[in-house]
Symmetry: C2
Subunit: 329 residues, 2 copies
């Protein structure tokens, strides 16, 4: 995973050649400050340059948030911290937001609920991408459609339904491309969160000794290809099913997200935690043994050496180094 970007892009191949001249200038100034060991100056310079670029070019301040993965049950009436963070990351008052309600059996109702919220939170423009079919009009020229948006939000419902409707369609591919190119912020809650990985948990159970049947897997949208997401995490006692999923996909990283909590995946390969609960990381990189290959679907599993981090709001995790970042205490 070293040289690769967690979003599936390659830092050598994809992102560096796309750095604009402005970004190069920024980087040079930042490096100068960094070489002088002026950390605060470094950050201030960075923020100042971001603001100047935004005002000079008329662009909104470039966001670092790439993908916002929400564990379901996010606050929709009070502070709306997570949904507000999504609107801010999408450009704040310049945000142009598309809502994908396809996971839901009531796309009209849920589309309207989120439209109202995002408008209320100050977004400039909100539309519902009412995709109900793999071949409907949204697939005609999805790149051109999406170029008019700064953020996309995938609602809850059923992740299998969502992926059956949009998985691997031109629309989904165009969306993924724009996220990786930093042109679009993508958020998903509940089913919309589960679908982020390439390997997706589609169902399962709790309250049992871990065994293969405790979790069902399917293919997700591959937005975060190296991540397996689980949501409503501690709320529905899903530690075991994510451990089970990860133990049969040891090249992946498990990310379990509680309700009203978000894991914000940034372009600099950090996860930042926002909201009321915790984000749990299950890292199998040191897994030395699992009996998965030899036992029946109902037999209890043996799994050696999983590494777990529980991260509350404010905590950060470095996806490249695979280490949580200790706050300065």
């Amino acid at each position: 995973m070293e040289a690769k970007n967690i979003l599936g892009g390659n830092t050598e191949g994809h992102l560096r050649p796309n750095l604009s001249q402005i970004e190069r200038l920024k980087q040079f100034a930042r490096q100068s400050a960094s070489m002088l060991n002026l950390d605060r100056l470094d950050r201030e310079l960075d923020q100042k340059l971001d603001r100047e670029i935004a005002s000079e070019t008329g662009m909104s301040q470039p966001t670092k948030a790439a993908v916002i993965v929400i564990g379901g049950g996010e606050d929709k009436v009070q502070d709306r911290k997570i949904l507000r963070a999504f609107v801010e990351s999408s450009g704040g008052t310049s945000a142009r937001i598309g809502i994908i309600p396809s996971a839901s059996r009531e796309p009209d109702i849920i589309g309207r609920i989120y439209s109202d919220i995002f408008r209320d939170l100050g977004a400039e423009f909100v539309d519902v991408f009412d995709i109900r079919d793999r071949r409907d009009r949204y697939q005609d020229d999805p790149g051109r459609l999406l170029d008019d948006f700064t953020g996309v939000f995938m609602t809850g419902g059923d992740q299998l339904r969502l992926c059956a409707i949009i998985g691997d369609t031109p629309f989904a591919l165009a969306m993924r491309e724009r996220v990786h190119q930093k042109r679009l912020v993508l958020a998903g809650t509940s089913a919309g969160a589960a679908a982020m990985g390439h390997h997706m948990i589609s169902g399962g159970s709790s309250g049992e000794t871990p065994h293969k049947e405790i979790v069902n897997m399917a293919t997700g949208l591959g937005i975060l290809p190296e991540i397996i997401v689980d949501q409503h995490f501690h709320n529905r006692n899903r530690m075991c099913r994510l451990m089970t999923a990860i133990s049969s996909h040891p090249e992946m990283l498990g990310v379990g997200i509680d309700e009203d909590t978000a894991a914000v995946f940034e372009h600099d390969n950090l996860i930042k935690v926002v909201g009321r609960g915790a984000v749990t990381i299950i890292d199998p990189v040191e897994m030395s043994y699992s009996n998965q290959l030899w036992v029946s679907n109902t037999a209890p599993l043996t799994v050696h050496n999983l590494r777990i981090h529980i991260l509350a709001a404010g905590a950060e995790y470095n996806l490249i180094k695979r280490v949580p970042i200790s706050p300065s205490v």
Copy 2:
């Protein structure tokens, strides 16, 4: 933990000087076989010597099992694998078993149930230690009483009740001493399992983001002083409460035991897993950060670097090295 025995004894001080001449002979023969790299011969020799010693001295075959910690709900009517293993470890047809039903509010009934089972499984003698008070007759000369027994079984019920009645009494101390001296096999199920540690989980909840109030701690019997036991483990979704308990006692090792499953702690510092479910080990030795000290009882926890092993029947764990033993596959 290096030089210390997990049972709280000291391998230098306690156990080595107690090696009988017969055991020295055994050890010499075993070493010879081992030096010749004859593993099977080594084991066969070991078993043969054990049998010969048993027949020559009239002693029952020395058991390696010291403490059998059962996650509750053990099979009482069919194979009775775990209860049978306890009777075997206590001497089989020579087993003399005492039952402590003090955790239960119905000590008569539960005492009778287990008496019938242990007799049915072939134990030579079974009695119920009907301890209901910290100052009753069982405290008069507990050493002399216990010297007449080879195994003690603590039933389920309420671990707080059990510890309130026998914790730190002469009876409990005499029992612990005999376990560490390999003179007594001790088993406990459910509440009787929870009470094994020095730090004991007395209650808690699940289905919530980990926070300090998710688990209540009290003082246990200290039979396995460096272990925090949790029982009905995956069955009642207790991963989080044990993680929470361990993150505030990082010098301990967490052992979560499923129903109808036992962690057999042997005198050679191995845990062996028996039964239908799994034993889960939570090792905080690499825990690099926890916010426990700075947050309120209801705030979500941040905990970095817990190591987890899930161990099904047949799996083994080395308590000194703190590593699971990989089966030869």
